[in-house]
């Protein structure tokens, strides 16, 4: 094999879990240049595997753990990996990102990606030690929380191995189960269920292969500049307060989804805000490996029960969305999701939906009431065990609505089956478009269109088709960041995002890459995701929002109103701006 491209190993490891056979597959230079790493490379590999037409929980399904050209480099926030598969929640493409030592160790195995197919004969730990692959029994680990699994794996295999694990939710194939590493999660879309369905409780990876860089000295110098900038005002919010500080801002702007999107503001917001929690509780900070920002803020639970990471999305989904203003209940719910390996947004969204179904008399579970912290915790446990109403809730709000009937789908808080994050689309209408067209469903990480709404570029209550290109631009930027991979919280330090990204990639790989080329690459990646979805059965009718959001203004902000016609016009303009047919065919 020709020597690898700088920044890459120019191959991936393909493991058939049914037989245990592992194969090293070459990645050609042009293929890498076209798809980079992370999400972009992952989607391309899944297309190659024909994964779109396969049940994601079947043994024939493929899933990919994908590193990136920047992993292992001195660039801040670059220790990240993507988990890419077809989602059991949406039946569409799913690319979830997580951070830290697993990315560094995984890339050091000497591969740019690890593709899993087949199904292990019994519950197993998958060990990848450079290019040596073996399966060991996971019998001792079954039923353990993500944290406990990681702890015991470290005891058994030593600290050189980095692990990615599922919790009880992944073992039971809950549709929104996560894969966890070091307390962080490849969270959305149910990649934990896909891994669980392959009988893999955890991967443990270790390696000795370091990639080289095309221009190491210049790269170190550029990395130093980015690190310096990362200490500046553009990231102060993340460093000092964390993303949870969005809560009071969103509440003031009436875009804080409350009681299953029945309101845009929450009377109890102050009680669970980080401003209040920071006064009453011990707060510590942490960060992913190779990060100079450190956005993670951990808050102490009462009675010496340790501390828990708190982010805006956890806080909104397990607080206001379920009508809960008891900080201890919200923090405990965050921790329980972490332990069980549950996506907090989908868990909170599905439980809030169930609470509204109870309110409307569609489900006979009188204990499941908005505002009841104990009910929230009980619901999370039931989801993980599949007992009682937990069986339905484990399916996510869309499938649950289909089972309940009575037009409950109209208020199920999802797009393409993925529960909507903490941005009410009626008051953030560029984001409404971003959610509607998102390839993995409603997703604030794949479309940063809320940034447009928080600017003078649009009137967030009356966004018109002329603004669709702004949604395209934020989606393209996200696609590139997720493929390079760099943390989204670094985006504020770029002055000219595509040009500076091109410079980074040039120093890493030696390619004469330009801003224009990276714009094309980003578009290719977005189109690849759409291609995957079309092969999986996508139709234009999917690019929409729940009926409630198209037909009812927010009761607490009458200006926040969309209509089916206005959203259709936005979607059509978006498709044309992408160069697709007006309906969205590529």
């Amino acid at each position: 094999m020709a020597s690898p491209i700088p920044g890459f190993h120019s191959c991936y490891l393909r493991i058939d879990l049914t037989t245990g056979a592992a194969q090293r597959v070459v990645l050609e230079e042009q293929f890498l240049r076209d798809h980079l790493g992370g999400s972009g490379l992952g989607v391309a590999l899944l297309l190659k595997e024909g994964a779109a037409g396969v049940d994601p929980l079947s043994s024939a399904a493929a899933m990919a753990f994908v590193f990136s050209p920047l992993v292992g480099s001195p660039l801040t926030t670059s220790a990240k990996f993507a988990v890419v598969s077809k989602s059991p929640l949406t039946q569409r493409i799913n690319d979830s990102l997580a951070s830290s030592g697993f990315a560094l160790a995984g890339k050091k195995t000497g591969h740019d990606a690890i593709v899993l197919t087949g199904k292990a004969p019994r519950p197993s730990i998958l060990i990848i030690d450079d290019d040596q692959v073996r399966l060991e029994s996971a019998a001792d680990f079954l039923g353990l929380s993500t944290g406990e699994t990681e702890h015991r794996l470290r005891e058994r295999y030593g600290t050189e191995f980095q692990t990615a694990t599922i919790g009880p939710a992944g073992e039971r194939a809950v549709s929104y189960a996560t894969i966890s590493h070091d307390g962080r999660h490849a969270g959305r879309g149910g990649s934990g269920a896909v891994l669980g369905s392959k009988n893999i409780k955890a991967l443990a990876v270790r390696g000795t292969h370091r990639p080289h860089w095309a221009e190491p000295s210049a790269l170190v110098e550029l990395a130093r500049k980015f690190s310096e900038k990362s200490f500046g005002p553009a990231t102060a919010k993340y460093r000092e307060l964390g993303t949870a500080s969005n809560l009071l801002t969103f509440n003031r702007l009436n875009v804080l989804p409350t009681r299953n999107f029945q309101q845009g503001s929450f009377a109890g917001a102050a009680a669970i805000s980080p401003e209040e929690l920071g006064v009453a509780r011990e707060r510590t900070r942490s960060s992913c490996a190779a990060c100079t920002i450190g956005c993670e803020h951990l808050y102490g639970l009462k009675n010496g029960k340790g501390s828990v990471r708190l982010e805006y999305e956890n806080l909104f989904a397990l607080g206001p969305l379920c009508g809960i203003d008891d900080p201890e209940a919200v923090l405990e719910a965050c921790r329980r999701c972490d332990d069980l390996g549950l996506d907090t947004i989908s868990a909170g969204g599905t439980i809030a939906f169930a609470m509204e179904c109870v309110e409307r008399g569609l489900i006979d579970e009188p204990w499941l009431q908005f505002g009841d912290g104990a009910a929230l915790l009980r619901a999370l446990d039931l989801i993980a065990t599949g007992e009682g109403i937990g069986r339905l809730m484990a399916l996510g709000s869309r499938r649950m609505a289909h089972e309940i009937g009575h037009n409950s789908i109209d208020f199920a808080p999802q797009v393409k089956g993925l529960e909507i994050p903490g941005y009410d689309p009626r008051g953030l209408q560029t984001m409404a478009l971003g959610f509607a067209v998102g390839s993995r469903g409603a997703d604030h990480n794949r479309s940063g269109a809320y940034e447009v709404d928080f600017s003078e570029a649009v009137d967030r209550y009356h966004v018109g088709p002329e603004s669709a290109h702004l949604a395209v631009e934020t989606e393209d930027k996200a696609a590139l960041m997720d493929s390079l991979i760099l943390c989204k919280f670094l985006r504020g330090v770029f002055t000219d995002f595509f040009a500076e990204s091109a410079e980074i990639l040039r120093l890493v790989t030696g390619w004469d890459v330009t801003a224009d080329e990276l714009r094309q690459t980003a578009r290719r990646i977005v189109t690849d995701k759409k291609r995957f979805n079309i092969l999986a059965g996508w139709t234009p009718a999917e690019d929409t929002l729940p009926d409630r959001m198209l037909r009812q203004a927010l009761p607490d902000d009458a200006r926040a109103q969309l209509s089916p016609e206005r959203l259709s016009a936005l979607v059509r303009a978006y498709n044309l701006a992408r160069g697709w047919s007006p309906e969205g065919w590529i």
Binding site: P233, A234, A236, K237, E240, L241, T243, A244, S245, N246, L248, T249, F250, R252, L253, N254, E275, E311, Y312, E313, G422, Y423, H444, G448, Y450, E451, F454, S455, E456, D459, R460, Y461, K488, F489, R491, G492, R559
Partner: protein, 87 residues
Amino acid sequence: MQVVVELFGIARARAGVAQTTAVGQCLGDVLADLAGRFPLLAESCIAGRTLRPGFTANLGGRRFVTAQETALTDGDTVLLLPLDGGG
């Protein structure tokens, strides 16, 4: 002309208050007034009469504004907040 100023996130942390009042005919006047009274806020969020990069203002929860000449009327509410809402 007196306006109410509500502060969020880092702006609130720097000023040490959630809400205050300020005087001025336009956004630039109000920012200058705040900068004079809250030096730590100025250090992070305000450069003279304009917002520093990473921050924005909003009138009454509806319209986002950054131009210092943005006219204000008596009783307006100005929100000062971090620019990006991601999380």
